[in-house]
């Protein structure tokens, strides 16, 4: 539709070319650091930078043999699983009243619930640090980090599930109840199957965000390490190709998980559609 606008302007070709070049530079800017990071992780040069002196997978071998990294990985996964369960349950439960109850100040409540995404993580981290150490007198541990991360990840689950709840036809539930289904059965056989893809996507998102979370964890994890915290402590002593390799692995894991989080709801919708077509 906007295409025919260009006929009017004589310099349109030049403008178009310039903007296209600009966009190309933007993509280079966005991906060059990541591509270089991965490239350096395979570079034999032990300073982890230019020049390329040869191809090696030695650094990956060192990552897998490092017991500190194994420790950090275990902690990271434990924390991520707990964060995922906590934020999926809390976020999904809250999505129902947010979408369906006659809520006063609905948009205010919604903004309030997404606030933990908006404000800098640093503020969440230090304020929880005060709460845990000075008020509750807790020992900082992976558990305190779980709570801090869940505050940040729950809004993502909430938003995804609420969008899905908003999208489905309430008549389906009315039909189930006319056919004699009680609240539990409606939830179990009608509502949950319909929102399952969104809940699953939310859970994957929470897991990925937890895996990568840095600033809140830094304040709350105490003496333990997650992978991002481990990388951070290593960086203080300079860049090593081993850290480049670890970073590349973490990067790949995030991309796969995020790909799944976005692909699963789409795949579920397509599967349902083809099922419907076959029945019809």
């Amino acid at each position: 539709m906007p295409r025919d606008v260009e006929v009017v302007s004589p310099r349109a070709g030049l403008v178009r070319g310039l903007l296209g070049g600009w966009a190309a530079l933007v993509y280079v800017f966005l991906f060059a650091p990541i591509v270089l990071l991965v490239a350096f992780s395979f570079n034999a040069n032990k300073y982890g930078t230019f020049p390329f002196t040869g191809w090696t997978t030695q650094w990956y071998g060192e990552v897998f043999g490092n017991y500190q990294i194994k420790d950090a990985l275990t902690t990271t996964l434990k924390v991520a699983v707990e964060v995922t369960v906590l934020s999926t349950v809390v976020g999904t439960a809250a999505a129902f009243p947010l979408v369906r109850s006659r809520l006063p100040f609905r948009s205010g409540v919604r903004i309030g619930m997404t606030l933990p995404i908006m404000i800098p993580g640093l503020l969440i981290g230090v304020s929880l640090l005060i709460l845990f150490t000075s008020v509750f007198h807790f020992q900082l541990s992976p558990q305190t980090a779980v709570i801090g991360q869940a505050v940040y990840t729950t809004p993502f689950v909430l938003l995804l599930v609420a969008a899905r709840l908003q999208g489905f036809d309430p008549a389906l539930e009315r039909a189930a109840s006319d056919l004699g289904a009680n609240t539990y059965k409606r939830l179990r056989y009608v509502v949950l199957p319909l929102i399952a893809p969104a809940v699953f996507a939310g859970a994957l998102l929470a897991f990925t965000l937890s895996l990568d979370e840095f600033i809140i964890t830094l304040f709350l994890i105490g003496g333990h390490n997650t992978l991002p915290i481990y990388i951070y402590t290593q960086v203080k002593f300079g860049i090593t190709p081993e850290v480049n390799a670890l970073a590349s692995l973490l990067l790949a894991a995030s991309l796969v998980l995020i790909g799944l989080a976005f692909a699963v709801p789409v795949a579920a919708r397509k599967a349902r559609q083809s099922l419907r077509l076959r029945r019809a």
Binding site: S9, G20, F40, S101, P120, I130, S134
Partner: protein, 306 residues
């Protein structure tokens, strides 16, 4: 259930929604789902934020926090020249980084909406957002390989013989911080501006040009005024997180790139909780001021209301 279904014609979304609400428990029961969230948000988000406000007005005496209300922490902050200077530097860096981010993202989003076929737009947009979904730490870390005296850029420039000494712009310093901040928050701006440009009615643009306006005038008089809410939203989404930035200045900022986030972390790791709380509250105050200034033009949609 019968009374809900009977009088409500399905064409009225308000009625059907409240009917469905009654479906899962009536009265207070409909709010039951908020309970876990109330505990999580209340105890672990709102209470801590209130605590930080209180702490910023209390004082530390002999390593103990005394609940006497005072402005000492703030007075102390502004009495140390380095701290006050860091606050101004933070605001300055945030402004510069935000302006650059929007300045780079706007032509990009404009190109995406106007010159790219619809079916490719989604894919190209996903490519922009992709880095955002990878680890924040790694996105900062990846620049360590590139910046600095031994980094890829300076090594490369010296290797091809363009210069024989490291170029200062790419050293660990304040310009490097701004560069990395633009990198970190570009996806926010691109996404928001893209959404705003896509909603724009291009027929108005065409009409302006039919009436003889050159493209530049059409952009300034027709497009930009209508994009104001989108631009403001982008500014807020970029500016707010940058104010609380810690990692980018810490890793690529060198000695002169320090921002207020680094001060806060130093206060807290030195167990100076009340002083740290005051510095943290200064960030929060800046955020509130920003939101108040922009509250009228901020795009706050409510997708869940009717």
């Amino acid at each position: 259930m019968a009374e809900a279904a009977a009088p409500a014609p399905p064409a009225q979304p308000v009625e059907t929604r409240s009917a469905a609400g009654r479906g899962l428990g009536a009265g207070l029961g409909q709010y039951a789902g908020f309970l876990p969230a109330l505990v999580l948000y209340g105890v672990f988000f709102l209470v801590p934020l209130a605590l930080i406000v209180a702490y910023s007005f209390w004082q530390t005496v002999d390593y103990n926090v005394v609940h006497d209300w005072t402005l000492d922490n703030y007075r102390y902050f502004f009495s140390v020249p380095t701290y006050a200077r860091t606050l101004w530097a933070t605001i300055w860096v945030s402004l510069a980084a935000t302006a650059l981010t929007i300045g780079i993202a706007f032509p990009f989003a404009y190109w995406l909406v106007r010159y790219v076929p619809k079916r490719l737009q989604g894919l190209l947009l996903v490519l922009v957002i992709l880095p955002f979904w990878t680890s924040y730490l790694l996105r900062v870390y990846s620049w360590l390989n590139i910046l600095g005296p031994e980094g890829a850029i300076n090594r490369f420039l010296q290797w091809i013989g363009l210069t024989d000494h490291p170029i200062s712009f790419f050293l660990y310093d304040r310009p490097a911080v701004i560069l990395v901040l633009v990198y970190l928050y570009f996806p926010f701006a691109a996404l928001t501006l893209y959404a705003s440009l896509q909603r724009f009615d291009w027929d108005q643009f065409k009409a302006a040009m039919d009436l003889g306006a050159p493209p530049r005038t059409a952009i300034r008089k027709i497009l930009l005024p209508q994009m104001k809410p989108g631009i403001v939203t982008a500014v807020i989404f970029v500016f707010i997180p940058i104010l609380g930035e810690y990692l980018a200045p810490q890793l690529v900022g060198g000695a002169r790139g320090v921002m207020i986030g680094n001060l806060i972390v130093n206060f807290f790791s030195g167990a100076q909780y009340t002083r740290g709380a005051a510095a943290a509250l200064l960030i929060a105050a800046l955020i509130v001021v920003l939101l108040v200034i922009f509250r009228r033009s901020l795009e706050v949609k409510d997708p869940y209301a009717t």
